[in-house]
Amino acid sequence: MTVTTLDPPASTLRPAIAPAPAPAGPLTTAWSVALRTVRKFRRTPQLVLIGTIQGAMFLLIFRYVFGGAISPGPVPYVDFLVPGFVVTSVLFAGTGTAAGVAEDVEHGFFDRLRSLPVSRGALLAGRTLADTGVLAWGLAVTTAIGFAIGFSIHGSVAMALFAFGLCVVYGFAVTWLFVWIGLVAGNAQAAQGMSLLVFPLTFVSSAYVPVDSMPGWMQPIAENQPITAMTNAVRALALGDPALAGLSGTAAHWVVLSLLWSAGLVLVFAPLAVARYRRS
């Protein structure tokens, strides 16, 4: 009779298989790390829930607390506010990106990835794309809450969808900024602190109030910064008529301007972030 033991078959520990002929290419690399970010988001209910509640809370405060005191012109304040709010929520979400990236630096996750024989640029691009995807989900939720509290589009549905697409493009551009902040900060708390420095930009813009209600010296600052360009583009598209949004310049003007800002952000911060990530 033979005796069967339950001992593990191998007494030595070893890599189970031969190395693959070649490491993953840039696409597989980006996809693999993007999948991780998306899984992390989906499986961390706190992230999903807190983001949503925070967004809803501020939207309600602006709509009902400040809204009564602000009269932006021909359209109700809620119609004026929601496009601007959706645009600025890109920056709110960026704080989470910066903190998440900093955490990966702090806890050695990036060290593991960077010690692998794959493109470091692709690793970071995957991360940024996934964060943009998560952001798009957040934007959709924010927009839905906007509709729930009385927002309505005045132009065509196609234009509104185009406006939403633009927001995702801004999201991608701004995410590079926050990825860079996360890499530079090195720990989650510092990353959050540094991200807060971006917040004045959201207020000194056309996002929540018309720029012409600001003091004269502030107006040029508010007029010539990316949040304003992005807000005006989205607002002109959502309201169907730039005049309704109290804007000079056509919708096309603002769309092109906002896309230029986005391209500028990517051109500056993507190379900075990748260089920082590669650097040692």
């Binding site: 520990l13 189970a16 070649a22 790390v33 060290d111 960077r114 692998l116 024989p117």
Partner: protein
């Protein structure tokens, strides 16, 4: 002759004012475990990160399995596996998903990745936990999974940076066991540690570094001999006699005896070996003091370190070697 698995000459790296590597020379041959031993901030982590192509040295040369790290970092990354001080695994993924991700990055297709992950999980005793989220794992399980992730690429050289820091004794032994089995299979391992017993247990070559430089190197027993002496331990029956014992033993030692009242022990380093213990017994006989035990032994690595550096190795904090790591991870200026 085969290239050394690690060959460093005059390696330097500076972070702001901190000189993390100050001309480090090291040749490690294949087929063994090399332990890099040193206190916090000695440059251990920076050295490992340099081998892993995460830190670019300011000067000197470094080859891994004959490959120049500065010229062909990508080839080096195919040669090594790295497990850092923190378990670098994603808590919101399962153990299997973590290994699959790394296997995919190494270029394996889905099926091979899965087979590979299954085998590694089994070898590390994580099969049952394979499909649980890592956030439910204990610290020891995370470390084992992290070790597994560093094995996915079938590395020639495995780099383990303080692999057992912060682990409870049981998990430590499990990890030691895993490392031993790896070595038995022919994987070269270079590990850093602040634990002298760890170096003693695992390594056949011990490199002691301090202030970014190698200050001593050899097998554990060579290092102990190089410290140039044996040690006589005398266990007093009564604590009151310790002073008298010290005075009686002092003439025999090469350095003044150390007293440890807590264990009622007097320790004195000696050169004469067996002859000296006879002298010691005679001296104690003359003194007429009750002694529980007297022994001649080789010094511990702790005592060797004390002799070589003039300072004891401080006990690491429970949560790991934070200052050393941060010196390496934080950008210049902050470090």
């Amino acid at each position: 002759m085969a290239s050394p698995i690690v060959e460093a000459h005059g390696l330097t790296k500076r972070f702001g004012k901190v000189e993390a590597l100050a001309g480090l020379d090291l040749v490690a041959h294949s087929g063994q475990v090399v332990a890099v031993l040193g206190p916090n901030g000695a440059g251990k982590t920076t050295f490992v990160r340099t081998i892993a192509t995460l830190v670019r040295p300011d000067g000197g040369s470094l080859r891994v399995d004959g490959i120049d790290v500065a010229r062909q970092p990508e080839r080096v990354r195919r040669t090594i596996g790295l497990a850092g001080q923190y378990a670098a695994v994603e808590a919101a993924m399962t153990g299997r998903e973590n290994l699959d991700m790394v296997a995919r990055l190494f270029g394996h297709d889905r099926r091979t990745s899965r087979a590979n992950s299954d085998a590694i999980l089994e070898q590390l005793g994580l099969t049952e936990a394979a499909d649980r989220l890592v956030r439910t794992y204990s610290g020891g399980m995370r470390r084992r999974l992290d070790l597994g992730a560093s094995l996915v690429g079938a590395p020639r050289l495995l780099l383990l940076d303080e692999p057992t820091t912060g682990l409870d004794p049981r998990s430590r032994m499990d990890l030691w066991d895993a490392i031993r089995r790896l070595v038995a299979n022919g994987t070269d391992v270079l590990l850093t540690t602040q634990y002298l017993d760890e170096a003693d247990q695992l390594a056949s070559q011990v490199v002691i570094i301090d202030h970014g430089r190698v200050i001593a190197e050899g097998t554990p027993s060579e290092l102990k001999s190089r410290a140039g002496r044996d040690v006589i331990d005398v266990h007093a029956h009564r604590a009151d006699d310790l002073g008298a014992l010290r005075d009686a033993l002092a003439p025999l030692g090469t350095a003044s005896p150390r007293l440890d009242p807590a264990t009622r022990r007097v320790t004195v380093p000696v050169v004469g070996g067996r002859r000296t213990i006879n002298d010691a017994v005679r001296a104690l006989d003359l003194l007429g003091v009750d002694v529980d035990d007297i022994a001649l032994r080789r010094p511990t690595l702790d005592e060797v370190f004390l002799v070589l550096t003039g300072a004891p190795i401080e006990a690491p904090p429970d949560d790991g070697d934070v200052p050393d790591r941060h010196a390496a991870a934080v950008p210049a200026g902050a470090a």
